[in-house]
Amino acid sequence: MEKYYHSVTLDVDKCKGCTNCLKQCPTQAIRVRDGKAKIIKERCIDCGVCISVCPYHAKKAITDSLSELDKFEYKVALPAPALYGQFPKVNDINKILNALLGIGFDDCFEVAKGAEVVTNRTKELIKSGELMDITISSACPAVLRLISVRFPNLLNNVLPIKPPIEVAAYMARQEAVKKTGLSEDKIGLFFITPCPAKATSIKNPLSVAKSGIDGVISIKDVYLKLAHKINSDSPPKNLQSAGFYGVSWANVGGEAEALEEGKYIAVDGIHNVINILEAVENEKLDDISFIEALACPGGCVGGPLTVENNYVAKSRIKETAKKLPKTKFSEDVDYNVLWEKPMEYNPIMNLDEDIFTAIQKASEIDKIYKGLPGLDCGSCGSPSCKCLAEDIVRNMASETDCIFKLREKVKTLSNEMNTLSKNLKG
Protein backbone atom coordinates (compact mmCIF):
# COMPACT_ATOMS: atom_id res chain seq x y z
CA MET A 1 0.00 0.00 0.00
CA GLU A 2 1.42 3.40 -0.94
CA LYS A 3 2.16 5.68 1.96
CA TYR A 4 -0.41 8.27 1.03
CA TYR A 5 -3.30 6.16 -0.22
CA HIS A 6 -6.55 8.13 -0.08
CA SER A 7 -10.16 7.24 -0.42
CA VAL A 8 -11.01 10.83 -1.37
CA THR A 9 -10.29 11.47 -5.06
CA LEU A 10 -11.29 13.68 -7.94
CA ASP A 11 -13.51 12.90 -10.90
CA VAL A 12 -11.57 14.97 -13.44
CA ASP A 13 -14.38 15.04 -16.00
CA LYS A 14 -16.86 16.55 -13.59
CA CYS A 15 -14.49 19.12 -12.08
CA LYS A 16 -15.06 22.65 -13.36
CA GLY A 17 -12.07 24.10 -11.56
CA CYS A 18 -14.13 26.37 -9.28
CA THR A 19 -12.89 27.45 -5.87
CA ASN A 20 -15.46 25.85 -3.56
CA CYS A 21 -13.36 22.98 -2.26
CA LEU A 22 -10.18 25.04 -2.43
CA LYS A 23 -11.46 27.43 0.21
CA GLN A 24 -12.97 24.86 2.55
CA CYS A 25 -10.15 22.34 2.81
CA PRO A 26 -8.91 22.47 6.43
CA THR A 27 -5.34 21.45 5.56
CA GLN A 28 -5.09 23.51 2.37
CA ALA A 29 -4.54 20.33 0.41
CA ILE A 30 -6.30 21.41 -2.78
CA ARG A 31 -5.02 23.49 -5.68
CA VAL A 32 -6.62 24.25 -9.01
CA ARG A 33 -4.09 23.82 -11.79
CA ASP A 34 -4.84 23.87 -15.51
CA GLY A 35 -8.52 24.30 -14.76
CA LYS A 36 -8.85 21.21 -12.57
CA ALA A 37 -8.64 20.60 -8.86
CA LYS A 38 -5.69 18.63 -7.57
CA ILE A 39 -5.37 17.05 -4.14
CA ILE A 40 -1.94 17.20 -2.52
CA LYS A 41 -1.78 13.66 -1.19
CA GLU A 42 0.54 14.30 1.71
CA ARG A 43 -1.80 16.90 3.14
CA CYS A 44 -5.20 15.26 2.66
CA ILE A 45 -6.77 13.93 5.86
CA ASP A 46 -9.78 12.38 4.10
CA CYS A 47 -12.29 14.45 6.04
CA GLY A 48 -14.48 14.62 2.97
CA VAL A 49 -15.36 18.30 3.34
CA CYS A 50 -14.62 18.70 -0.38
CA ILE A 51 -17.06 15.91 -1.21
CA SER A 52 -19.78 17.70 0.67
CA VAL A 53 -19.14 21.16 -0.77
CA CYS A 54 -18.53 20.33 -4.45
CA PRO A 55 -21.57 21.53 -6.43
CA TYR A 56 -20.61 19.32 -9.39
CA HIS A 57 -20.10 16.15 -7.38
CA ALA A 58 -16.58 15.89 -8.72
CA LYS A 59 -15.10 14.79 -5.40
CA LYS A 60 -15.75 11.22 -4.49
CA ALA A 61 -14.59 8.50 -2.17
CA ILE A 62 -13.26 5.24 -3.45
CA THR A 63 -14.97 2.32 -1.76
CA ASP A 64 -15.57 -1.28 -2.77
CA SER A 65 -18.50 -2.50 -4.84
CA LEU A 66 -20.95 -5.20 -3.80
CA SER A 67 -19.39 -7.55 -6.34
CA GLU A 68 -16.47 -7.93 -3.93
CA LEU A 69 -18.76 -10.09 -1.84
CA ASP A 70 -18.41 -12.90 -4.38
CA LYS A 71 -14.83 -13.48 -3.30
CA PHE A 72 -15.99 -14.98 -0.02
CA GLU A 73 -18.05 -17.96 1.02
CA TYR A 74 -19.65 -16.30 4.01
CA LYS A 75 -20.29 -12.57 3.94
CA VAL A 76 -20.91 -10.47 7.01
CA ALA A 77 -22.06 -6.85 6.93
CA LEU A 78 -20.77 -4.54 9.66
CA PRO A 79 -23.06 -1.52 9.57
CA ALA A 80 -21.96 1.70 11.24
CA PRO A 81 -24.68 3.00 13.57
CA ALA A 82 -25.03 6.02 11.26
CA LEU A 83 -26.86 3.70 8.85
CA TYR A 84 -29.74 3.46 11.28
CA GLY A 85 -30.74 7.08 10.75
CA GLN A 86 -30.89 6.97 6.97
CA PHE A 87 -34.36 5.65 6.16
CA PRO A 88 -37.56 7.69 6.53
CA LYS A 89 -40.08 6.19 8.92
CA VAL A 90 -37.76 3.34 9.88
CA ASN A 91 -37.09 3.29 13.60
CA ASP A 92 -36.52 -0.43 13.84
CA ILE A 93 -32.90 -1.42 13.49
CA ASN A 94 -33.88 -5.01 12.84
CA LYS A 95 -35.63 -4.03 9.62
CA ILE A 96 -32.41 -2.47 8.34
CA LEU A 97 -30.26 -5.40 9.39
CA ASN A 98 -32.63 -7.82 7.68
CA ALA A 99 -32.50 -5.71 4.53
CA LEU A 100 -28.72 -6.22 4.53
CA LEU A 101 -29.37 -9.97 4.33
CA GLY A 102 -31.68 -9.20 1.42
CA ILE A 103 -28.89 -7.63 -0.65
CA GLY A 104 -26.46 -10.52 -0.42
CA PHE A 105 -25.04 -10.75 3.08
CA ASP A 106 -25.27 -13.93 5.14
CA ASP A 107 -25.10 -12.20 8.47
CA CYS A 108 -24.68 -8.84 10.24
CA PHE A 109 -22.53 -7.66 13.09
CA GLU A 110 -23.25 -4.22 14.47
CA VAL A 111 -20.26 -1.88 14.74
CA ALA A 112 -22.14 -0.38 17.69
CA LYS A 113 -21.14 -3.47 19.68
CA GLY A 114 -17.49 -2.75 19.00
CA ALA A 115 -18.18 0.80 20.20
CA GLU A 116 -19.53 -0.55 23.47
CA VAL A 117 -16.36 -2.51 24.07
CA VAL A 118 -14.34 0.64 23.32
CA THR A 119 -16.45 2.54 25.85
CA ASN A 120 -15.84 -0.06 28.54
CA ARG A 121 -12.10 -0.10 27.93
CA THR A 122 -11.95 3.68 27.86
CA LYS A 123 -13.59 3.82 31.27
CA GLU A 124 -11.04 1.34 32.60
CA LEU A 125 -8.14 3.34 31.18
CA ILE A 126 -9.46 6.59 32.61
CA LYS A 127 -9.81 4.94 36.03
CA SER A 128 -6.29 3.54 35.86
CA GLY A 129 -4.97 7.11 35.87
CA GLU A 130 -2.54 6.38 33.03
CA LEU A 131 -4.04 8.97 30.71
CA MET A 132 -3.27 12.67 30.43
CA ASP A 133 -5.53 15.23 32.14
CA ILE A 134 -7.39 15.74 28.90
CA THR A 135 -8.09 12.74 26.70
CA ILE A 136 -9.02 13.19 23.06
CA SER A 137 -11.16 10.52 21.42
CA SER A 138 -9.45 8.42 18.75
CA ALA A 139 -12.67 7.49 16.96
CA CYS A 140 -12.50 9.87 14.01
CA PRO A 141 -9.56 9.09 11.70
CA ALA A 142 -9.83 12.47 9.98
CA VAL A 143 -9.27 14.17 13.33
CA LEU A 144 -6.38 11.81 14.10
CA ARG A 145 -4.72 12.70 10.81
CA LEU A 146 -5.33 16.37 11.51
CA ILE A 147 -3.64 16.04 14.89
CA SER A 148 -0.69 14.24 13.37
CA VAL A 149 -0.03 17.04 10.89
CA ARG A 150 -1.06 20.14 12.85
CA PHE A 151 -1.07 19.38 16.56
CA PRO A 152 2.00 17.27 17.36
CA ASN A 153 1.83 18.40 20.98
CA LEU A 154 -1.52 16.72 21.41
CA LEU A 155 -0.48 13.27 20.19
CA ASN A 156 0.00 12.15 23.79
CA ASN A 157 -3.54 13.20 24.65
CA VAL A 158 -5.14 10.87 22.13
CA LEU A 159 -6.91 7.83 23.59
CA PRO A 160 -4.69 4.88 22.56
CA ILE A 161 -7.59 2.56 21.81
CA LYS A 162 -8.42 1.09 18.41
CA PRO A 163 -11.53 2.27 16.61
CA PRO A 164 -14.84 0.40 17.12
CA ILE A 165 -14.71 -1.07 13.61
CA GLU A 166 -11.50 -3.01 14.34
CA VAL A 167 -12.89 -4.36 17.59
CA ALA A 168 -16.13 -5.28 15.84
CA ALA A 169 -14.21 -6.98 13.03
CA TYR A 170 -12.41 -9.23 15.49
CA MET A 171 -15.64 -10.16 17.24
CA ALA A 172 -17.51 -10.67 13.98
CA ARG A 173 -14.90 -13.04 12.58
CA GLN A 174 -14.84 -15.12 15.75
CA GLU A 175 -18.61 -15.34 15.72
CA ALA A 176 -18.72 -16.29 12.03
CA VAL A 177 -16.12 -19.03 12.49
CA LYS A 178 -18.12 -20.41 15.38
CA LYS A 179 -21.38 -20.33 13.43
CA THR A 180 -20.10 -21.79 10.17
CA GLY A 181 -17.02 -23.84 10.99
CA LEU A 182 -15.35 -22.18 7.99
CA SER A 183 -11.73 -21.09 8.09
CA GLU A 184 -11.15 -17.38 8.72
CA ASP A 185 -10.15 -16.54 5.17
CA LYS A 186 -13.43 -17.84 3.73
CA ILE A 187 -15.26 -15.18 5.72
CA GLY A 188 -15.63 -11.70 4.21
CA LEU A 189 -16.24 -8.78 6.55
CA PHE A 190 -17.68 -5.65 4.94
CA PHE A 191 -17.90 -2.32 6.67
CA ILE A 192 -21.00 -0.32 5.66
CA THR A 193 -19.73 3.18 6.25
CA PRO A 194 -20.59 6.88 6.07
CA CYS A 195 -16.93 7.79 6.10
CA PRO A 196 -14.11 8.16 3.53
CA ALA A 197 -11.57 8.63 6.32
CA LYS A 198 -12.49 5.25 7.73
CA ALA A 199 -12.34 3.76 4.25
CA THR A 200 -8.78 5.06 4.02
CA SER A 201 -7.97 3.70 7.45
CA ILE A 202 -9.00 0.20 6.42
CA LYS A 203 -6.56 0.22 3.50
CA ASN A 204 -3.94 2.26 5.28
CA PRO A 205 -4.46 1.73 9.02
CA LEU A 206 -3.44 4.24 11.66
CA SER A 207 -3.36 2.19 14.83
CA VAL A 208 -3.34 -1.46 13.76
CA ALA A 209 -0.78 -3.25 11.63
CA LYS A 210 -3.45 -4.67 9.36
CA SER A 211 -7.19 -4.07 9.37
CA GLY A 212 -9.55 -6.94 10.14
CA ILE A 213 -11.97 -5.67 7.48
CA ASP A 214 -12.02 -7.14 3.96
CA GLY A 215 -14.02 -4.48 2.17
CA VAL A 216 -15.60 -1.07 2.64
CA ILE A 217 -18.97 -0.23 1.19
CA SER A 218 -20.39 3.26 1.21
CA ILE A 219 -23.85 3.86 2.64
CA LYS A 220 -24.68 5.87 -0.49
CA ASP A 221 -23.94 2.92 -2.73
CA VAL A 222 -26.29 0.50 -1.01
CA TYR A 223 -28.93 2.99 0.03
CA LEU A 224 -31.50 2.37 -2.70
CA LYS A 225 -31.05 -1.37 -2.70
CA LEU A 226 -31.61 -1.45 1.05
CA ALA A 227 -34.58 0.92 0.84
CA HIS A 228 -36.31 -1.52 -1.51
CA LYS A 229 -35.75 -4.46 0.80
CA ILE A 230 -36.81 -2.67 3.96
CA ASN A 231 -40.41 -2.35 2.89
CA SER A 232 -40.97 -6.05 2.42
CA ASP A 233 -43.51 -7.34 4.91
CA SER A 234 -41.85 -10.55 6.02
CA PRO A 235 -41.36 -10.42 9.80
CA PRO A 236 -37.78 -9.57 10.57
CA LYS A 237 -35.41 -12.06 12.11
CA ASN A 238 -33.85 -10.76 15.32
CA LEU A 239 -30.35 -9.63 14.45
CA GLN A 240 -30.19 -6.62 16.73
CA SER A 241 -28.28 -6.65 19.99
CA ALA A 242 -26.37 -3.41 20.44
CA GLY A 243 -27.65 -1.15 23.20
CA PHE A 244 -28.42 2.52 23.65
CA TYR A 245 -24.84 3.65 24.13
CA GLY A 246 -23.33 1.83 21.18
CA VAL A 247 -25.97 3.08 18.76
CA SER A 248 -25.69 6.62 20.09
CA TRP A 249 -22.08 6.81 18.90
CA ALA A 250 -23.51 7.82 15.51
CA ASN A 251 -24.34 11.28 16.84
CA VAL A 252 -21.79 13.71 18.18
CA GLY A 253 -21.71 13.38 21.97
CA GLY A 254 -22.63 9.71 21.90
CA GLU A 255 -19.18 8.45 22.76
CA ALA A 256 -18.62 11.02 25.52
CA GLU A 257 -22.09 10.53 27.00
CA ALA A 258 -21.48 6.79 27.23
CA LEU A 259 -18.56 7.37 29.60
CA GLU A 260 -21.16 8.51 32.14
CA GLU A 261 -18.79 10.69 34.12
CA GLY A 262 -16.35 13.56 33.87
CA LYS A 263 -16.83 16.86 32.12
CA TYR A 264 -16.53 16.60 28.38
CA ILE A 265 -16.66 18.62 25.20
CA ALA A 266 -18.24 17.08 22.13
CA VAL A 267 -17.29 19.06 19.04
CA ASP A 268 -18.29 18.45 15.43
CA GLY A 269 -17.24 19.99 12.12
CA ILE A 270 -13.56 20.07 11.23
CA HIS A 271 -13.14 23.83 11.62
CA ASN A 272 -14.74 23.76 15.08
CA VAL A 273 -12.49 20.85 15.97
CA ILE A 274 -9.44 22.93 15.06
CA ASN A 275 -10.62 25.69 17.42
CA ILE A 276 -11.07 23.30 20.32
CA LEU A 277 -7.70 21.64 19.72
CA GLU A 278 -6.12 25.10 19.79
CA ALA A 279 -7.74 25.70 23.16
CA VAL A 280 -6.37 22.41 24.48
CA GLU A 281 -2.91 23.38 23.27
CA ASN A 282 -3.15 26.69 25.09
CA GLU A 283 -4.03 24.81 28.28
CA LYS A 284 -7.23 26.76 28.62
CA LEU A 285 -9.64 23.88 29.24
CA ASP A 286 -8.52 22.80 32.66
CA ASP A 287 -11.76 21.34 34.02
CA ILE A 288 -12.46 19.18 30.96
CA SER A 289 -11.37 15.56 31.00
CA PHE A 290 -12.61 14.18 27.68
CA ILE A 291 -12.90 15.61 24.19
CA GLU A 292 -14.94 13.90 21.55
CA ALA A 293 -13.96 15.49 18.27
CA LEU A 294 -15.65 14.53 15.02
CA ALA A 295 -14.84 15.97 11.63
CA CYS A 296 -18.35 15.86 10.21
CA PRO A 297 -21.30 18.11 11.04
CA GLY A 298 -23.40 16.27 13.61
CA GLY A 299 -20.83 13.48 13.89
CA CYS A 300 -20.68 10.35 11.71
CA VAL A 301 -24.36 10.78 11.00
CA GLY A 302 -23.26 13.69 8.82
CA GLY A 303 -20.53 11.69 7.09
CA PRO A 304 -19.97 12.50 3.40
CA LEU A 305 -21.16 9.06 2.31
CA THR A 306 -24.58 9.33 3.93
CA VAL A 307 -27.79 10.17 2.13
CA GLU A 308 -30.13 11.66 4.71
CA ASN A 309 -29.85 15.21 6.02
CA ASN A 310 -27.78 14.97 9.18
CA TYR A 311 -30.26 16.76 11.45
CA VAL A 312 -33.06 14.49 10.35
CA ALA A 313 -30.89 11.42 10.76
CA LYS A 314 -29.77 12.57 14.17
CA SER A 315 -33.28 12.84 15.52
CA ARG A 316 -34.20 9.48 14.05
CA ILE A 317 -31.22 7.80 15.72
CA LYS A 318 -32.16 9.41 19.01
CA GLU A 319 -35.66 7.97 18.73
CA THR A 320 -34.33 4.58 17.77
CA ALA A 321 -31.72 4.45 20.52
CA LYS A 322 -34.23 5.49 23.19
CA LYS A 323 -35.94 2.14 22.88
CA LEU A 324 -32.74 0.21 23.48
CA PRO A 325 -31.48 -0.93 26.87
CA LYS A 326 -28.85 1.12 28.65
CA THR A 327 -27.29 -2.04 29.98
CA LYS A 328 -23.55 -2.17 29.93
CA PHE A 329 -22.15 -4.35 27.25
CA SER A 330 -20.59 -7.09 29.31
CA GLU A 331 -19.47 -9.59 26.70
CA ASP A 332 -15.73 -9.69 27.19
CA VAL A 333 -13.39 -10.05 24.26
CA ASP A 334 -9.93 -11.53 24.60
CA TYR A 335 -8.68 -8.96 22.15
CA ASN A 336 -6.03 -6.33 22.62
CA VAL A 337 -7.90 -3.08 22.08
CA LEU A 338 -4.81 -0.94 22.61
CA TRP A 339 -3.00 0.61 19.65
CA GLU A 340 -0.49 -1.67 18.00
CA LYS A 341 1.60 1.27 16.84
CA PRO A 342 1.91 4.79 18.19
CA MET A 343 0.71 7.82 16.28
CA GLU A 344 3.53 9.90 14.93
CA TYR A 345 4.03 13.52 14.04
CA ASN A 346 3.85 13.97 10.31
CA PRO A 347 5.61 17.27 9.59
CA ILE A 348 4.22 17.82 6.11
CA MET A 349 3.80 21.55 6.66
CA ASN A 350 7.60 21.97 6.86
CA LEU A 351 9.14 24.35 4.36
CA ASP A 352 12.47 22.62 4.62
CA GLU A 353 14.22 20.01 6.70
CA ASP A 354 16.86 22.50 7.70
CA ILE A 355 15.59 25.28 9.95
CA PHE A 356 18.01 27.83 8.53
CA THR A 357 16.84 27.20 4.97
CA ALA A 358 13.24 27.11 6.15
CA ILE A 359 13.62 30.56 7.69
CA GLN A 360 14.96 31.90 4.43
CA LYS A 361 12.06 30.43 2.58
CA ALA A 362 9.67 31.93 5.12
CA SER A 363 11.04 35.41 4.66
CA GLU A 364 10.91 34.91 0.92
CA ILE A 365 7.23 33.96 1.29
CA ASP A 366 6.65 37.04 3.37
CA LYS A 367 8.18 39.29 0.72
CA ILE A 368 6.14 37.76 -2.07
CA TYR A 369 2.99 37.88 0.02
CA LYS A 370 3.40 41.60 0.65
CA GLY A 371 3.38 42.16 -3.11
CA LEU A 372 0.13 40.25 -3.66
CA PRO A 373 -3.26 42.00 -3.56
CA GLY A 374 -4.46 40.19 -0.43
CA LEU A 375 -7.91 39.44 -1.85
CA ASP A 376 -7.72 35.69 -1.31
CA CYS A 377 -9.81 35.34 -4.45
CA GLY A 378 -8.54 31.91 -5.35
CA SER A 379 -8.27 32.68 -9.07
CA CYS A 380 -4.62 31.69 -9.01
CA GLY A 381 -5.62 28.19 -7.94
CA SER A 382 -4.23 28.48 -4.42
CA PRO A 383 -6.62 28.90 -1.51
CA SER A 384 -5.24 32.27 -0.38
CA CYS A 385 -2.63 34.86 -1.30
CA LYS A 386 -0.46 33.58 1.55
CA CYS A 387 -0.73 30.10 0.17
CA LEU A 388 0.19 31.24 -3.34
CA ALA A 389 3.29 32.90 -1.91
CA GLU A 390 4.15 29.61 -0.25
CA ASP A 391 3.46 27.66 -3.44
CA ILE A 392 5.76 29.97 -5.38
CA VAL A 393 8.60 29.35 -2.93
CA ARG A 394 7.88 25.63 -3.04
CA ASN A 395 8.15 25.83 -6.85
CA MET A 396 4.55 24.79 -7.29
CA ALA A 397 3.34 28.05 -8.82
CA SER A 398 4.58 31.34 -10.24
CA GLU A 399 3.80 34.94 -9.44
CA THR A 400 1.91 35.48 -12.69
CA ASP A 401 -0.63 32.84 -11.65
CA CYS A 402 -2.11 35.79 -9.78
CA ILE A 403 -4.29 37.54 -12.36
CA PHE A 404 -3.58 40.94 -10.81
CA LYS A 405 0.14 40.39 -11.04
CA LEU A 406 -0.31 39.20 -14.60
CA ARG A 407 -2.29 42.31 -15.45
CA GLU A 408 0.42 44.52 -13.95
CA LYS A 409 3.05 42.74 -15.97
CA VAL A 410 1.12 43.00 -19.22
CA LYS A 411 0.62 46.71 -18.58
CA THR A 412 4.31 47.35 -18.01
CA LEU A 413 5.15 45.31 -21.05
CA SER A 414 2.75 47.21 -23.28
CA ASN A 415 4.04 50.53 -21.95
CA GLU A 416 7.55 49.44 -22.79
CA MET A 417 6.41 48.41 -26.25
CA ASN A 418 4.85 51.82 -26.74
CA THR A 419 8.01 53.64 -25.84
CA LEU A 420 10.03 51.34 -28.04
CA SER A 421 7.81 51.87 -31.04
CA LYS A 422 7.93 55.65 -30.54
CA ASN A 423 11.69 55.40 -30.51
CA LEU A 424 11.50 53.51 -33.78
CA LYS A 425 9.52 56.28 -35.48
CA GLY A 426 11.84 58.98 -34.14
Binding site: E281, L351, I359
Partner: protein, 142 residues
Protein backbone atom coordinates in the same frame (compact mmCIF):
# COMPACT_ATOMS: atom_id res chain seq x y z
CA UNK B 1 20.53 36.32 3.39
CA UNK B 2 18.06 36.52 6.22
CA UNK B 3 19.17 34.72 9.35
CA UNK B 4 15.91 35.37 11.09
CA UNK B 5 12.33 36.19 10.37
CA UNK B 6 10.40 38.92 12.14
CA UNK B 7 6.65 38.73 12.69
CA UNK B 8 4.67 41.69 13.94
CA UNK B 9 1.13 41.71 15.28
CA UNK B 10 -1.16 44.52 16.33
CA UNK B 11 -3.22 43.07 19.13
CA UNK B 12 -6.71 44.52 19.20
CA UNK B 13 -7.84 45.33 22.70
CA UNK B 14 -11.46 45.85 21.79
CA UNK B 15 -12.37 42.62 20.12
CA UNK B 16 -12.10 39.69 22.46
CA UNK B 17 -13.02 37.24 19.72
CA UNK B 18 -9.71 37.99 17.99
CA UNK B 19 -7.64 37.34 21.10
CA UNK B 20 -5.22 34.48 20.62
CA UNK B 21 -4.75 35.05 16.91
CA UNK B 22 -1.14 36.17 17.16
CA UNK B 23 0.02 33.14 19.14
CA UNK B 24 -1.95 30.84 16.89
CA UNK B 25 -0.29 32.36 13.84
CA UNK B 26 3.19 32.13 15.36
CA UNK B 27 2.55 28.49 16.14
CA UNK B 28 1.74 27.78 12.50
CA UNK B 29 4.89 29.54 11.35
CA UNK B 30 7.03 27.56 13.81
CA UNK B 31 5.49 24.31 12.56
CA UNK B 32 6.29 25.25 8.98
CA UNK B 33 9.86 26.05 9.99
CA UNK B 34 10.30 22.59 11.45
CA UNK B 35 10.86 23.46 15.11
CA UNK B 36 10.54 20.70 17.67
CA UNK B 37 6.96 20.34 18.98
CA UNK B 38 8.16 20.85 22.55
CA UNK B 39 9.71 24.23 21.64
CA UNK B 40 6.55 25.20 19.81
CA UNK B 41 4.52 24.31 22.87
CA UNK B 42 6.57 26.55 25.14
CA UNK B 43 6.43 29.48 22.74
CA UNK B 44 2.74 29.21 22.05
CA UNK B 45 1.66 28.97 25.67
CA UNK B 46 3.94 31.80 26.80
CA UNK B 47 2.86 34.00 23.93
CA UNK B 48 -0.81 33.16 24.32
CA UNK B 49 -0.75 34.19 27.98
CA UNK B 50 1.06 37.41 27.12
CA UNK B 51 -1.36 38.18 24.33
CA UNK B 52 -4.32 37.56 26.63
CA UNK B 53 -2.90 39.87 29.27
CA UNK B 54 -2.56 42.60 26.66
CA UNK B 55 -6.18 42.20 25.64
CA UNK B 56 -7.65 41.81 29.11
CA UNK B 57 -5.52 44.20 31.17
CA UNK B 58 -3.99 46.67 28.73
CA UNK B 59 -6.42 47.29 25.89
CA UNK B 60 -4.16 45.76 23.26
CA UNK B 61 -0.61 46.34 22.16
CA UNK B 62 2.07 45.18 19.76
CA UNK B 63 3.81 41.82 19.60
CA UNK B 64 7.07 41.36 17.76
CA UNK B 65 8.49 37.87 17.32
CA UNK B 66 11.91 37.22 15.90
CA UNK B 67 12.64 33.66 14.94
CA UNK B 68 16.15 32.39 14.28
CA UNK B 69 17.52 28.84 14.29
CA UNK B 70 18.94 29.52 17.77
CA UNK B 71 16.01 31.07 19.55
CA UNK B 72 12.57 32.61 19.44
CA UNK B 73 12.58 36.15 20.78
CA UNK B 74 9.24 37.67 21.80
CA UNK B 75 8.58 41.29 22.66
CA UNK B 76 5.19 42.39 23.95
CA UNK B 77 4.61 46.10 24.39
CA UNK B 78 1.50 47.92 25.48
CA UNK B 79 0.53 51.40 26.57
CA UNK B 80 -1.97 50.20 29.14
CA UNK B 81 -2.32 51.01 32.84
CA UNK B 82 0.94 49.32 33.81
CA UNK B 83 1.58 47.14 36.84
CA UNK B 84 2.21 48.74 40.19
CA UNK B 85 3.82 45.85 42.01
CA UNK B 86 5.38 43.41 39.58
CA UNK B 87 6.53 41.03 42.27
CA UNK B 88 2.96 40.71 43.50
CA UNK B 89 1.56 40.33 39.98
CA UNK B 90 4.03 37.52 39.31
CA UNK B 91 2.71 35.48 42.22
CA UNK B 92 0.65 32.46 41.27
CA UNK B 93 -3.00 33.16 41.91
CA UNK B 94 -2.72 36.94 42.05
CA UNK B 95 -5.17 38.57 39.69
CA UNK B 96 -7.05 41.83 39.31
CA UNK B 97 -9.35 40.40 36.66
CA UNK B 98 -12.99 41.45 36.89
CA UNK B 99 -15.79 38.98 37.53
CA UNK B 100 -16.81 39.37 33.91
CA UNK B 101 -13.38 38.24 32.73
CA UNK B 102 -13.36 35.38 35.23
CA UNK B 103 -16.61 34.14 33.77
CA UNK B 104 -14.77 33.77 30.47
CA UNK B 105 -12.31 31.41 32.08
CA UNK B 106 -9.49 33.86 32.72
CA UNK B 107 -8.23 35.45 35.90
CA UNK B 108 -6.67 32.47 37.65
CA UNK B 109 -3.56 34.56 38.11
CA UNK B 110 -1.39 31.97 36.41
CA UNK B 111 -0.51 33.81 33.20
CA UNK B 112 2.67 35.63 34.19
CA UNK B 113 4.09 32.72 36.16
CA UNK B 114 3.44 30.39 33.23
CA UNK B 115 5.13 32.82 30.87
CA UNK B 116 8.15 32.76 33.13
CA UNK B 117 8.04 29.00 33.48
CA UNK B 118 7.93 28.31 29.74
CA UNK B 119 10.56 30.81 28.64
CA UNK B 120 14.34 30.68 29.10
CA UNK B 121 14.63 34.43 29.47
CA UNK B 122 11.82 36.50 30.97
CA UNK B 123 12.10 40.23 31.58
CA UNK B 124 9.15 42.36 32.56
CA UNK B 125 9.20 46.11 33.08
CA UNK B 126 6.24 48.32 33.71
CA UNK B 127 5.35 51.84 34.58
CA UNK B 128 1.99 52.86 35.98
CA UNK B 129 -0.11 54.79 33.44
CA UNK B 130 2.59 54.29 30.81
CA UNK B 131 2.50 50.64 29.93
CA UNK B 132 4.13 47.26 30.20
CA UNK B 133 6.94 45.59 28.30
CA UNK B 134 7.57 41.87 28.40
CA UNK B 135 10.54 40.26 26.73
CA UNK B 136 10.73 36.48 26.48
CA UNK B 137 13.20 34.14 24.83
CA UNK B 138 12.74 30.45 24.20
CA UNK B 139 16.01 28.83 23.19
CA UNK B 140 15.96 26.17 20.52
CA UNK B 141 17.63 22.96 21.58
CA UNK B 142 20.36 22.23 19.08
Amino acid sequence: MDKSIVLKYDVDGNDFSLAGEASSSVKKVLLSLGFDPEIIRKVSIALYEGEMNMVIHANGGVITVEISPEEIHMLLEDTGPGIEDIELAMQEGYSTASDKVRELGFGAGMGLSNMKKYSDVFIITSEVNKGTRVEMVVKNKQ
